[in-house]
Amino acid sequence: MIEQIPILIVIIPLISSFLCPLIGLWRKEACHGWIVFSLSLSVLASIHTLLSIIQNGTVRYHLGNWNPPWGIECVIDHFGAFMVVIISTMSLFAAVYGKKTIEKELPGKTIYFYTIFLLLVTALLGIAVTGDVFNLYVFLEIASLAGYALIAVGKDRAPVASFRYIVMGTIGACFYLIGLGYLYIVTGSLNMEDLRILLPPLYANRVVQTAFVFMFVGFGIKIALFPLHTWQPDAYTYAPSATSVIISTAMAKTSVYALIRIIFSVFTLNFVTGFVAVFDVICWISAIAMIFGSVYAITQNNLKKMLAYSSIANVGYIMLGVGLSASTSLGLTPALMHILNHALMKGCMFMIACAFIHKAGLWDIRDFVGLGRRMPYTCFAFILAALAMIGMPPSVGFITKWYLILAALEAGQYIFVAVILFSTLLMIVYFWRVIEIMYIRAGEGEGNEIKVEEVPGSMLIPGLILAVLCFLVGIAWISGLLSPILEAVNSGFGLGVVS
């Protein structure tokens, strides 16, 4: 049983997802308990995998006992296990949080929402464990399709946002498929490990270089990298609350994971630095994304849209970490840190933003007057997450920015230090605006008795836990509790050594 765990990580949510409608037929209320149960199993399986990988190294699992490169292989290394834990934990939080919001926003559709939700989690976990490029494509498409459906059931403009995402997302996935086809033509293999061995003599080949560009642009759409982000703000804003939480944390981060996996595991560092020179481009695009996302976030009045634009800026942070990875001794450390950090912070932020909509029907920041006293605990969690976002030590946001600045200084790219500081300044502007309206600005209701009306505990507690985690994980990064993972990922990708 224990040696089957790599595939069980994917199988548990998959089987539970198909059992969900059956359980819904029997008793509608049991569905939520069921998905929380199966996601808890996933969390246990992924934590077990992470711990055993830290002790014994990479786990390989051959599906159906077909040996690679012919069969499909599951490979879980430190990076994969790190992602599996993030995905399963964040989806558990989103599922616990989502119960009340789904019942209110989608009455009568809860069973099918949970079914597709579990399918989304299955696909995301699949992306993290697979060692086969075509299998990655299939999981990517399952995740996208589940994502389209989950977004489309939202209110207002959700179907239009979802349609735009379908068009963009399909182009992205198809570009990835073309790149994959080019690699298959020249190598005859689809296994990541095998491709890494077969590709080096072909690095100067135009077909391989074109394949890389196709794959990079394809994933650029999926992760909403700056000029390809147009689908993202509306999709995040109009999606139902539980969807917003999961797609802004688990789904966005998994696409980043897949991009990093393709860059470093299939094409290697030698190819990317020596033959396509894409890292400078990534750095500059990320810098523009950081400024652009923050500037747009300032101009938004819808809190969820502000957070969506802030996500574009934060994808910029992660990709800046990737872009600088080759030229510093820190390697991918800042990027990996920010994958976890941003999942925690943005998950918490979206939970709170949706709690305001759920309880008070407020989505416009200008209407938040006096909210600090109406919903004290929710607003407290918001302040913690906002401080983490801005970068108060020892929060997770501070750690990311600190390591990114160290990396930029070491690489001698001083302009990016200025960009990081400037985008932090912009972040202070837009988060302070919200906090100022919530707490300080006096509304017409001044003097009247404001009655406290908090969201239910199932929505409040996940938000508060994430807000506290924003600081605890920061301390864990400082204390070096998680550095074995970082070191293993960096050495696995041949990073962290400056020539």
Binding site: Y148, P159, F163, A173, I178
Partner: protein
């Protein structure tokens, strides 16, 4: 140069088809036309994969059909067509159909909400809300 163009005719056709689909997805204002463009785009990629596995004078990759007759297990790869691209495309077709289904149902949702499938009119109705 002529040999280069003729020798790679399958790739030219796939690129042409893909660009038609891409144009429809980007430039057409009607949502159904966008979906059709999306389908052409995906079909082009399927043709591309299938055309890469074409080989003349070979047989299906089943041992009994080998030129040497069955029994001898010394398999000459040159006598068989590569089955893998076809198998991959079976999966890709499934993905394509699923995408089409989701896209059409979202288009229906849009039609029910805004009463039109023209993107300009949808955007116009959206602003009125």
């Amino acid at each position: 140069m002529w040999d280069f163009i003729v020798g790679h005719y399958n790739y030219w056709m796939y690129i042409g088809l893909m660009m038609i689909g891409f144009y429809a997805m980007m430039a057409k204002r009607n949502l159904i036309k966008k979906i059709i463009g999306m389908n052409i785009f995906q079909s082009a990629i399927i043709f591309f994969f299938i055309s890469t596995s074409v080989k003349k004078g070979v047989t299906v990759p089943i041992l009994e059909h080998g030129h040497e007759g069955h029994g001898s297990h010394a398999i000459d790869v040159m006598q068989y067509a590569n089955p893998l691209p076809h198998v991959l495309m079976l999966t890709a077709i499934v993905v394509m159909v699923a995408t089409l289904g989701v896209a059409l149902s979202v288009a229906i949702m849009i039609y029910r909400k805004y009463g039109t499938l023209e993107e300009d009119e949808v955007l116009g109705n959206m602003r009125k809300d």
